[in-house]
Symmetry: C2
Subunit: 110 residues, 2 copies
DNA sequence: TTGACATAAAACCATTTGGTGTTATATTAT
DNA sequence: ATAATATAACACCAAATGGTTTTATGTCAA
C-alpha cells in the first residue's frame, strides 16, 4: 500500500504546458490527439506530460475505442491551496509593512 | 527592462526543500548557515535553492557583517493561489460528483 | 481487406536539476 | 596577528526533464 509517488502535485503543476493541459481538460474531456493539437510539441511529448499528471492523480485516461480520453481530477490541487494559504497571513493583514520594517531593523542589529 | 525570469514561482515551489526553506523564513529571518543546519544537505546546495527562490522573488538576502540574512517575500505566491482558485469550482460545489458521473457516461458513448 | 487514424513503446539527446567537493575571500573574536 | 566562521565561486557529476524520431499495434470506415 501507499505506493511511492514519483511525481507530486507541486511538481506536476510546475510545468506551464501541464498547467495548460489541466485548463483544457477543465472545459471538456479530450483524447490525446485533441490535446496535442493545442500545442506545437509532438504527441509523444504530450503523452509524457499526461503520464506525469496521472501520477499526481490530476488526470486519468480511459480507453474508448481507438482513442484514450483524458479527464480532470482537480482534487489534489487542494494540497497546493492549503500550502499557499498558510502564507496568506503575511500579505493579508495591514501590519505586514510594519512587520517588514521591524525585521529589517533586527537585521541591522545582528 | 522586464528581465527574462529563469525561474517562475510554480517551479520554485516544486521542490520540497525549497518549500521548507520558505516555511523556515516565515518564522524568522535566517543566515545561510542557519538554514543549512535544518537540512542534511551541504551549504552549497542550500545556496542554489536560495538562488532559485530569489529569482522567483520569494526571498531576498541582505549582507550583514559576514552573514547573509535571508527573508521571505510571500507575495508571488498569490499567482499560485489565483491559478488554483480557478479549479475550486470543480470540487467546491455539491454537483461535482454528478458532473463526474455524467462525463463518464459520455465517455462510454463516444 | 485495406488504408487511415490513434495510441503505445522504445531508443536517443541536450539541458536542467539537485547534489557534491575544493579553493578563495571577507569578517569576527581571541 | 591569527584562527575560526560565513560566504562565494568553481568545477564536477548522476539523474531527471522535456523533447525528438522510429517502429509497432490496435481500431474504424470505406
Amino acid at each position: 500500500m501507499s505506493a511511492i509517488k514519483k511525481h507530486d502535485v507541486f511538481q506536476a503543476v510546475a510545468d506551464p504546458t501541464r498547467r495548460e493541459i489541466l485548463h483544457l481538460l477543465s472545459n471538456q474531456n479530450l483524447a490525446i490527439s485533441e490535446i496535442t493539437s493545442h500545442f506545437s510539441i509532438t504527441r509523444t511529448a504530450v503523452v509524457k506530460h499526461l503520464t506525469i499528471l496521472s501520477e499526481a492523480n490530476l488526470v486519468s485516461g480511459k480507453k474508448s475505442g481507438r482513442e484514450k480520453i483524458y479527464h480532470l481530477h482537480p482534487e489534489p490541487l487542494m494540497e497546493i491551496k492549503n500550502w499557499v494559504s498558510y502564507f496568506e497571513q503575511f500579505w493579508n493583514n495591514k501590519l505586514s509593512m510594519l512587520k517588514y520594517l521591524v525585521e529589517n531593523e533586527e537585521d541591522k542589529k545582528e
